[in-house]
């Protein structure tokens, strides 16, 4: 009886099978382990042939690219031609963790999903929280590279260095939470309650399967690697899901020093943690609305009186909150699980976060928090990026109101605030009716009806919640981000120098380089919010990896990563004309009575970056960054 039951526990058994069987041999094996913060393994999955290989992590990747985002761009730059079709089998999809994930460093359980984007046709690297990153690390992998295309739907199962490609016909067509539940249910006889609970599932919904170009990758019941359409890339490879469960160690170079440093961090940041846990991102919509900076009615305004009742966080908390929900290792716990009173939607959902409230809420003229929750829930289940989806729908709404988009094409009226939005979301995910056109992105939709200026997007990605006219630097940041209008690729310009033009262009550059290092260490930028946190990041990286990191060194690596991404984009065919803003932002003073003078700012920005007037890095800049060879052909 006992043995039979014991078979179900993967902990002891799996390690006995592959490793030493007595304590002394185990001790010796551990003494030989020298890699700190890393497992040192890259998993390469060739879906075309159904083969998996484990490769050793090259030392230069760890040294020069920190991790996550940096490693991903290096691998993509080396292995794919940036000019390929993003939805072709030649594109490679990378899931990358960093050296901090799985060590217990606060807010570091994150992974980057990177590939060429089908939406923007440039580099994409959205970051996602949840429990997947620590599970992947504990299972023994730092990085997964997915290549080719499976002939039939499959999912990837990772369990302690054992990797299986399993058929997923039975999962195809399911929504994200159904996939998670089905996979866990099928494992019931192998895993006990605890292991099922710890198993982490990353999946795509019907939107990803149907190659909606802004489909996202969902993890752990509601976390999303949202921007840039990574779900469509996953769908184009017939990869429905990944599961990870691990029981291995992540070694830390100085465990006691690390524990003390983190305890110190806890003491120093207690008030900030308590505030963030209570408010989440829910204090931001109110704050943005009150300062007339929130995306409203397709960016025609920055303020809505109907939304003003949510300026008090407590109102939102009372209305929908179930509990505060953290990603693994995060004491800030900004995530919120929510439930609405409508009996037709009995399920709980993650969020909605600030961006969702603004883009699917005020930007579409929907002001009731329960309606926003329903839209958010649908997007999560179908697997769509709420920000770009919101921008596409608000564009359709404005075209409908202006009479450019006829009702017969839609099948129903769609003025601002219309709850037909829910119907439309499903149509987009399943590509029915007008949804087929909308699934290609906002720009094809707006251009089809002859008004491309009405889609509020940059490089195809919808503009996030803060109106670009709200702060001078914001328009520049959105326009110059390598991925398009990313809300997490530079921290918001809440700093003293934001009114000084000379200050904020320099700040934008510094900030973008800094966020590149944060994304490469795969920390949460909500916590390390701004370059003033650089020394803390360097300290943690040094303690964990045992290799000395300095703020200057990290800034250099950040700039290098940023320039490498730029070179990737240039090879993909991007030009200065793509670093642009919609005419509504540069010509019509909608917020705070000002417009963004982008051309002048761009000249200044390019000069400070060491790029020429077309946004191409000069030879000297690349030489200083040791990227001469990478620049060949475009410089």
């Amino acid at each position: 009886m006992r043995d039979e039951v014991r078979m179900r526990t993967i902990g002891p058994r799996s390690n006995w099978k592959n490793g030493p069987t007595n304590k002394i041999a185990f001790f010796i094996q551990n003494c030989e382990e020298t890699m700190f913060g890393w497992k040192g393994n890259i998993l390469r999955v060739d879906l075309t042939n159904g083969a998996t290989h484990v490769e050793e992590m090259p030392a230069y990747l760890m040294k020069e690219y920190i991790g996550g985002r940096g490693m991903a761009i290096r691998i993509l730059f080396d292995e794919i031609d940036p000019a390929i079709d993003a939805l072709s089998p030649e594109n490679k999809l990378i899931f990358a963790t960093g050296p901090l994930a799985g060590t217990g460093a606060p807010a570091a359980s994150r992974f980057v999903v990177s590939a060429k984007s089908p939406l923007s046709n440039c580099i994409a690297n959205p970051v996602c929280g949840g429990y997947f990153a620590i599970n992947l690390k504990e299972a023994g992998f730092d990085l997964i590279i997915v290549e080719g295309k499976a002939p039939n739907p499959v999912y990837l199962e990772i369990e302690n260095e054992r990797v299986f490609i399993r058929p997923a016909e039975h999962l195809w067509g399911m929504t994200c939470s159904e996939v998670e539940q089905t996979i866990k249910k099928n494992m019931k006889d192998r895993l006990d309650e605890w292991q099922q609970d710890l198993l982490s599932v990353v999946s795509i919904g019907p939107a990803g399967e149907n190659l909606v170009r802004f489909a996202c990758v969902m993890a752990d019941g509601g976390r999303a690697a949202g921007r840039s359409g990574m779900g469509a890339v996953m769908g184009s490879k017939n990869l429905k899901a990944l599961t990870a469960l691990g029981t291995g160690d992540v070694a830390v170079a100085d465990p006691d020093g690390f524990r003390k440093a983190i305890t110190q961090f806890y003491r120093e940041n207690k008030p900030a943690m308590d505030k963030r846990r209570n408010d989440g991102t829910w204090y931001l919509p109110g704050r943005a609305n009150a300062s007339k900076s929130q995306a409203t009615l397709n960016f025609r305004s920055g303020y809505s009186a109907e939304f003003a009742k949510y300026e008090d966080v407590e109102v939102i908390r009372q209305a929908i909150r179930v509990r505060d929900e953290a990603c693994a290792s995060c004491p800030f716990a900004c995530g919120k699980r929510s439930r609405i009173k409508d009996p037709a939607y009995p399920l709980t959902a993650k969020g909605p976060e600030h961006e969702t409230m603004a883009l699917l809420g005020t930007n579409c003229g929907i002001y009731d928090i329960e309606d926003i929750c329903r839209a958010n829930y649908l997007c999560n289940e179908l697997g769509m990026d709420t920000i770009t989806t919101g921008c596409v729908i608000s564009c359709a709404m404005e075209m409908y109101e202006e009479g450019y988009l006829p009702e017969k094409d839609l099948g129903f009226p769609l003025p601002f605030g219309s709850l037909n939005t829910f119907q439309l979301l499903k149509q987009v995910a399943f590509r029915q009716g007008i949804g087929d056109l909308m699934a290609k992105g906002g720009m094809p939709l707006a251009a089809h009806y002859g008004h491309p200026e009405l889609y509020m997007g940059i490089k195809g990605l919808g503009i996030p919640a803060w109106h670009p006219q709200a702060f001078d630097a914001l328009g520049l940041q959105y326009a110059t981000n390598n991925v398009g209008a990313g809300h997490t690729k530079s921290t918001m310009p809440f700093y003293e120098g934001r009114k000084d033009p000379a200050g904020y262009v320099e700040w934008t550059k510094k900030d973008q380089d800094y966020v590149a290092t944060v994304d490469s260490a795969v920390m949460c930028w909500i916590i390390f919010h701004g370059p003033q946190w650089g020394d803390k990041l360097a300290e943690w990286l040094s303690i964990i990896t045992g290799k000395a990191h300095t703020v200057e060194g990290l800034n250099y690596l950040g700039e290098r990563i940023w320039n490498l991404e730029r070179l990737f984009n240039l090879r993909a065919g991007l030009t200065r004309a793509d670093d642009s803003l919609p005419p509504r932002i540069t010509q019509e003073p909608r917020v705070k009575n000002r417009v963004v003078d982008l051309e002048r700012l761009l000249d200044d920005y390019y000069r400070r970056r060491g790029w020429d007037e077309n946004g191409v890095p000069t030879r000297e800049t690349l030489k200083a960054l040791n990227l001469q060879n990478e620049g060949a052909g475009v410089v």
């Binding site: 009886m1 006992r2 039951v5 014991r6 179900r8 526990t9 993967i10 902990g11 002891p12 390690n15 490793g19 304590k23 185990f26 799985g102 060590t103 217990g104 606060p106 620590i134 504990e138 895993l191 006990d192 309650e193 605890w194 292991q195 609970d197 029981t247 291995g248 160690d249 992540v250 070694a251 830390v252 465990p255 006691d256 690390f258 524990r259 983190i262 305890t263 806890y266 207690k270 943690m273 308590d274 846990r277 179930v322 509990r323 505060d324 929900e325 953290a326 990603c327 693994a328 290792s329 995060c330 004491p331 800030f332 716990a333 699980r337 709980t348």
Partner: protein
């Protein structure tokens, strides 16, 4: 002295597990931890490892937590042959909370930002 658990405050960040593993094993690995957090949709349950029990239970019950049915195995503190948790992953040696020495200085309590874990005198 005891560690008081208020599961309604727990956010499921599992930092207690990392603190425990780092303090006792010197490595970051929740499987070496003497406290585990079980995550349900509406709440999280931190459970601290208790004494080892040789035999597995003859019957399993259901516990009601906040109106939700939870398997009794999950709320049980014992390290036992059936469960995957509360064992050293390499050796299978059962683990038990030791309050991080004498006088008690539990690291999980220090790393619990929402104060779901508290060291109390009684």
């Amino acid at each position: 002295m005891r560690i008081k658990i208020d599961h309604t405050l727990c956010t499921g960040c599992k930092q207690c597990e990392f603190a425990c593993a780092l303090a006792h094993a010197g490595k970051a690995n929740p499987w070496r931890s003497r406290i585990r957090v079980f995550i349900e949709e509406d709440f999280c349950l931190p459970v601290i490892a208790g004494p080892y029990t040789e035999a597995s239970c003859n019957s399993k019950g259901i516990v009601m937590v906040d109106g939700v049915e939870v398997n009794e195995c999950v709320t049980c503190r014992a390290s036992c042959p059936v469960k995957a948790v509360y064992k050293e992953p390499d050796t299978g040696i059962p683990l038990k909370c030791d309050f991080c020495g004498d006088p008690p200085d539990p690291q999980c309590v220090q790393w619990c930002a929402p104060e779901a874990l508290k060291l109390v005198e009684d």
